[in-house]
C-alpha cells in the first residue's frame, strides 16, 4: 500500500515518511482530548514530544502504538494505517512506557524469549544475546527481573521493544523514576538504538535531558501540536524558551478557545 505524501512538501516520498497523522481527534465520552492533531515524522528522526500534564501526550502515544483507537482522523505508520492494518503496524513498533511491561518472575532471557516468540523473531537466541549486550545487561541474563533495579528494568524494556527490530520506537516518559546514573545509561542505550535509522518519538517532561537526545522538538498542548522545530532551529536561549513560547501562544491563540 502506498503511503501518503507529506502535506507541506509534495515531493516527499512515502518510504521516508514513517509516521503520518492527519486531523486526529480522540474523545473519551463527552471529553475531547485530542483535537485536529497533525503530526509527521521522517525516517531517522528523533522527535521529542513535549507538553504539560494532561495535554494528551500519553493518549497520543497510545493511539500511535495501536493500543487505543482514534475517534476520527488518519494514522499511518510505516505505510500501514490504523486501526485496520494494526497487525502490520505492530510488527514495526517498539514501545517503551513508564511501566516496564516485563514479567518479574521470569529471567531477562526468558522475558526476551517470550516477546521474541510473540513477534515471530527468527534466530531468537542470537538476537537475545545481541540485545542484552546493547542494553548492557548481558551479565544479568539469567537473573529474575524482579531483582532488577528500576533503571535496569527500563533498559531491559528497551531491549524488549527492539527485539523484533522495529522501524519505529515510541517512548512514553521512559526516564520516570530513574536516578541520574540510570538516566545516563538509558540515554546511552537510546542513542545507540536511535542511531540505526530508527524513527523515535519520545514524550518527556525533562527538557534538559531531551535537549541532547532529540533531533526535533514538538510541543503538544491542549490536544494539538502547537509548535515544532528541528534542533538547528532552536532559538538562542534554548529549548526552555522555545517551550515556554509555544505554550504561551497556545493559550492566547486567536480565533477563540482551542
Amino acid at each position: 500500500m502506498l503511503g501518503w505524501a507529506s502535506k507541506t512538501d509534495p515531493t516527499q516520498q512515502n518510504i521516508t515518511l514513517m509516521i503520518e497523522v492527519n486531523h486526529l481527534v480522540k474523545r473519551f465520552g463527552p471529553k475531547t482530548v485530542l483535537k485536529n492533531l497533525d503530526f509527521q515524522a521522517q525516517q531517522g528522526e528523533f522527535v521529542a514530544l513535549l507538553g504539560p500534564n494532561g495535554a494528551g501526550k500519553t493518549t497520543f502515544l497510545r493511539i500511535l502504538s495501536s493500543l487505543s483507537r482514534q475517534t476520527l482522523g488518519e494514522v499511518i505508520i510505516a505505510g500501514y494505517s490504523l486501526p485496520h492494518q494494526a497487525a502490520a503496524v505492530r510488527r514495526q513498533l517498539g514501545v517503551v512506557s513508564h511501566l516496564p511491561l516485563l514479567y518479574g518472575d521470569l529471567t531477562a532471557e526468558e522475558n526476551l524469549q517470550f516477546y521474541g516468540r510473540m513477534y515471530g523473531v527468527k534466530g531468537l537466541e542470537q538476537r537475545i544475546g545481541a540485545v542484552l549486550e546493547l542494553v548492557g545487561l548481558a551479565p544479568r541474563r539469567r537473573d529474575l527481573v524482579r531483582t532488577f533495579s528500576r533503571g535496569m528494568q527500563q533498559r531491559l524494556a528497551i531491549g524488549r521493544a527492539i527485539i523484533h527490530d522495529p522501524e519505529v520506537l515510541l517512548l512514553d516518559e521512559p526516564h520516570t523514576g530513574l536516578d541520574q546514573d540510570a538516566c545516563e545509561m538509558l540515554d546511552n542505550v537510546l542513542r545507540q538504538v536511535a542511531a540505526r535509522q530508527r524513527t523515535v518519538v519520545m514524550t518527556s517532561h525533562d527538557l534538559v535531558r531531551v535537549a541532547d537526545l532529540a533531533s526535533r522538538f514538538d510541543v503538544l498542548s491542549r490536544g494539538a501540536i502547537r509548535a515544532s522545530t528541528p534542533r538547528l532551529g532552536l532559538p538562542q536561549d534554548g529549548l526552555l524558551a522555545f517551550y515556554r513560547e509555544a505554550l504561551n501562544t497556545a493559550t492566547i491563540a486567536p480565533g477563540g478557545a482551542p
Binding site: 473519551f28 465520552g29 463527552p30 471529553k31 478557545a257
Partner: protein
C-alpha cells in the same frame, strides 16, 4: 433531541396510567374469585406480568449490549443500563409477589423451584452488573464491560433454568400444565384469561413508559456531564 418531554412521551404516560388502573380494576372487579385460594390468587396477575416486564428489560439490555459493541454509540449503553434496572426492579417485585402467593398456597415463603430460583440467580447476576459498572471509572470502558456482561448473563439464563429444572420442581404450571394435580394449580377460565392478557398489556406499556423515561434521564445526565466538562475547560 430537545430536552423537554416529548409529546409522545406525555401521551404514553397517560395511556400507561389509564391502562394500569384499568388492569387493577379488572383484577379486582372483573376477574372471578378463584375457588381454592380466594383473593390471594389475584396476586398472580401482577406476579406474572412483573416477570414479563422484567424479562423484557433483560432482553432489551442484551440486544443493546450487542449493538453497543458494534457501534460504540453511547446511547446504547444507556439503553442497556435502563433495561437492567427495570429488569431488576420488576423481577424483584415478581419474586416478592410470588412469596405473597406462596405462603397461603403452600405454607412457605420460598420454594426452590426452577423458575423462582433462576430468577433470583438472575437478580444476583444483574446486580453484579451494577457492581461491575460501579467499579470502573472510565465511561467508555464501563459501557463496554457492561455490554459484555449483559450478554454473558443473559445467555446463562436458559442454561440456569434447565439445570435447575432438572434438579427439582414444585412450581405450579399454569399455562399448559402437565400435572393438573400439582398443588396450587388452577385452571384459567376465559374471564381470567382476559384479565391476564390485559394485565400483560398494561405492564408492557408500563415497561415502555419507564424505559423511555429512564433512557431520557440517562441522556439528560450525559448532557449535564458534557456541559460540566465544557465549563471546566
Amino acid at each position: 433531541m430537545s430536552d423537554s418531554k416529548s409529546r409522545w412521551l406525555i401521551l404514553l404516560d397517560i395511556v400507561t396510567i389509564v391502562l394500569f388502573f384499568g388492569a387493577v380494576g379488572m383484577v379486582f372487579f372483573y376477574a372471578p374469585l378463584e375457588a381454592s385460594m380466594g383473593i390471594v390468587q389475584k396476586v398472580f396477575y401482577f406476579h406474572t406480568a412483573s416477570f414479563w416486564t422484567g424479562m423484557l428489560g433483560f432482553v432489551f439490555s442484551m440486544v443493546a449490549g450487542i449493538i453497543y459493541l458494534r457501534t460504540h454509540d453511547h446511547k446504547w449503553d444507556i439503553v442497556g443500563l435502563a433495561g437492567i434496572e427495570i429488569g431488576l426492579v420488576f423481577c424483584l417485585i415478581g419474586v416478592i409477589t410470588g412469596s405473597i402467593w406462596a405462603y397461603p398456597a403452600w405454607n412457605t415463603w420460598w420454594t426452590w423451584d426452577p423458575r423462582l430460583t433462576t430468577v433470583t440467580i438472575m437478580e444476583l447476576a444483574y446486580f453484579a452488573y451494577l457492581m461491575l459498572r460501579a467499579g470502573i471509572e472510565d465511561p467508555e470502558r464501563r459501557a463496554r464491560f457492561g455490554a459484555v456482561y449483559a450478554i454473558v448473563a443473559f445467555i446463562s439464563v436458559p442454561l440456569t433454568f434447565f439445570s435447575i429444572r432438572m434438579f427439582n420442581t414444585i412450581h405450579p404450571v399454569v399455562i399448559g400444565s402437565s400435572d393438573p394435580g400439582a398443588a396450587g394449580t388452577f385452571a384459567m377460565t376465559s374471564k381470567m384469561t382476559t384479565v391476564f392478557m390485559f394485565a400483560l398489556l398494561a405492564y408492557t406499556f408500563l415497561f415502555a413508559d419507564l424505559f423511555w423515561h429512564r433512557i431520557r434521564l440517562g441522556r439528560l445526565a450525559d448532557k449535564v456531564e458534557q456541559k460540566k466538562l465544557k465549563l471546566s475547560e
